[in-house]
Amino acid sequence: MEELDGLLCLSDNVCICGDVRQGIYDKDGMTAAKRLGLTKHSLKTHYRIGQKIARVADRLIPPKPGQPTLEETCNYNPKVQGESSAEMHECDSRDEQFERMLKLIRVQLDAFKDEMIGIFCGRKETLAELRKRFDATDIGSRVCVHGVDPNASFEGPRRIHVLTIHSAKGTEFRAVHLYGAEELHDFPMNRREIGFTAITRAKTALNAFRTGETNKPLENAFAQPTHMNLSDLFPKQS
């Protein structure tokens, strides 16, 4: 509030943007706008997030009754910006997670020319693990690990950025990888807002990797419709 008061002294126009579903610190910053008597504008559409990614976000935190979903308000043009994708990969080990992620990143570096790729993890310790893993590859020099690398910055030629979900707030990437999603299994990392924040950083491609279980709401949000037959409903007794 004090900061906002200060800003209002300096400028006639102050814009505060917020989304309740991204409140990962359990604070409602938008109440400040109310208390200051600022005019409220609600955005009717968005352009950033592809339909398939918006669908996952909507499943994780559905809008309030009567409110439109992210997918419904999506103005993303798949013909121009590219068809979006959202997938969760179940892997046997963290090694496999990294290998599958690396394979996708190599394609994305070509596909999304000059655009940034984000890799998110739940724990700070995972940042160091990823630094080590990338250093053993040929693209290590193109990776910036925030919180580990000295002088880590979004400026410069490095196109791949590794962050914790908490520090990813306010960023956006053409492709997002959620590495080690099993780290979101327990409280407080299993809060839906945390998953929602990570998902809504992605514009076109979203991939999550887990070894073991992550939290159920997140897993269900990524669930793909599959064909079901009688044998699935009534498995044979052995």
Binding site: P78, K79, G82, E83, S85, V107, D110, A111, K113, A205
Partner: protein, 474 residues
């Protein structure tokens, strides 16, 4: 400036050098170039009407009678070497070129030539001829002056006739064969099919990316002299069901990787055909749905560099709506050079005009002939292939073998000189010894007990000291 506005003069041969340096008073004036050629013994000097000065009036254009060109140029080089090369004074044109490109231009039907399409073709060639690490964003655009496509584009744009393009290509082939110039990665023979569509396409035609790909690949397939045994059928590759047509960019990249691997396996170590190169270029063009993914081609081995020229053609035909920012900036930058208006009396930026290049190469052999010419750039010669269309050519450097031979020659020369020097010194030493013996004998006869003729250091010092003492006494 219109050709009708040029005033012609002819000169006695002895007055020609003076006239070239700007003194035009002694010439026979004429309204028609043909008359000036007749009275000038095969050379007519043209002057821009409004620029003729009283005291200084250099010619703006020089026309040479085709049959008399060799004799005229030889005479000038021999008796007025300061006037050679003539191209340094003004644009030099043969009479046949003047008639072909000057007068006939008005009678022939003009073909449409969109400069931006040609700019993309030039950009494609620039990427193909350059090193593999060239990037569209940082490409030095001045290098486009060395592209064969630039000369062809200029001739098509300025003269707007099929004849002009054909003559330009024929002359470029002569330049390409000239061993005095460095060889290039992409030959004219493989560029010719790329030059045909921009010359033939109508300015108002706009095609979608997929239509351009279909058009180009189908045209090459039809034009292939031998039936293609390409296992990857272009019709299947570029069908709406193909992954290269997917709305997912990642799927298109993966499809492109599969395509290059598949065709790469088929091609093996042999040189890829035009169709194989065009199919790969089409794949990259479809990945970006335009020009944005040209960088995918730079990872291919050098023998695939012709893919860039097909890529440039596709970008040209698909038009600006298919260009990304980097391609747009580079293409428009090149287009500026192509759009420049042509004036017969304007300054030619070329080091040599075509008639003078032809005469020099037919008269003199060896690389030295170009090395001694004044040039705009070191090691690069620019030739005006047809009026207004210039091609820059890098002069060939010696091959590693020739360089080694030259180095060995230099070493042998140095050894020979050293040997001669040593022999000379030996002779001097031997003469000195003989002189010492002679003088020593005479002195011994004159002064009994005096030492020998001082040649070694100690004796020289003693001798100097003795002379010095003698001096002091004086």
């Amino acid at each position: 400036m219109k050709t009708d506005d040029i005033r012609w003069q002819s000169f006695e041969r002895s007055d020609l050098p003076k006239a070239l340096f700007g003194s035009a008073r002694s010439g026979v004036r004429s309204w028609h170039m043909e008359n000036a050629l007749d009275t000038g013994h095969g050379i007519a000097l043209g002057y821009a009407e409004e620029e003729q000065g009283e005291t200084y009036s250099p010619p703006a254009v020089i026309v040479l009678e085709d049959k008399a060109a060799a004799e005229t140029l030889s005479w000038l080089k021999t008796f007025a070497p300061e006037t050679s090369p003539l191209s340094q004074f003004a644009r030099v044109v043969s009479r046949s070129d003047w008639e072909r490109f000057g007068a006939e231009r008005r009678r022939r039907p003009r073909t449409a030539a969109r400069e931006d399409r040609w700019a993309c073709v030039v950009l494609g060639e620039l990427l193909a001829q350059g090193d593999s690490d060239l990037e569209v964003a940082t490409l030095p655009l001045s290098w486009s002056a060395s592209c064969f496509s630039t000369a062809v584009a200029r001739s098509a744009i300025i003269h707007a006739t099929e004849d002009a393009r054909r003559i330009c290509v024929e002359r470029l082939l002569v330049l390409e064969k000239d061993q005095k110039f460095a060889r290039r990665h992409v030959a004219i023979a493989s560029l010719e099919p790329v030059w045909a569509p921009p010359a033939a396409s109508r300015a108002e035609d706009t095609l979608a990316v997929s239509e351009v790909v279909d058009l180009v690949v189908s045209a090459i397939t039809r034009a292939a002299e031998e039936p293609t045994d390409l296992k990857v059928r272009p019709a299947t590759l570029f069908s709406p069901q193909s992954d290269l047509m997917s709305d997912s960019v990642e799927s298109r990249v993966v499809a492109f990787q599969r395509l290059t691997a598949q065709i790469g396996d088929e091609v093996g170590e042999r040189a890829p055909t035009a169709l194989e190169q065009a199919v790969i270029a089409a794949g990259a063009f479809l990945v970006g749905r335009g020009s944005s993914h040209s960088f995918l081609l730079s990872r291919l081995p050098r023998r695939w560099s012709h893919t860039f020229t097909w890529f440039g053609l596709m970008a040209g035909l698909a038009g600006p709506q298919s260009w990304d920012g980097e391609w747009s900036r580079a293409a428009k930058g090149i287009e500026r050079f192509l759009r420049g208006t042509f004036d017969w009396c304007g300054v030619s930026g070329a080091d040599l005009s075509w008639p003078e290049y032809s005469w020099l190469t037919s008269t003199f052999t060896g690389k030295q002939v170009f090395a001694e010419l004044p040039k705009m750039l070191p090691k690069v010669l620019s030739v005006e292939v047809v009026p207004g269309a210039i091609c820059q050519l890098r002069l060939a450097t010696d091959s590693p073998g020739a360089a080694r031979d030259a180095s060995q020659r230099e070493t042998a020369d140095a050894e020979r000189r050293e040997r001669e020097l040593r022999d000379t010194l030996d002779q001097v030493a031997s003469l000195a010894t003989r002189a010492r013996q002679l003088v020593g004998g005479q002195e011994a006869q004159r002064t009994t007990g005096q030492g020998s003729f001082a040649l070694d250091d100690t004796q020289e010092r003693e001798s100097s000291a003795s002379r010095s003492r003698r001096g002091k006494r004086h």
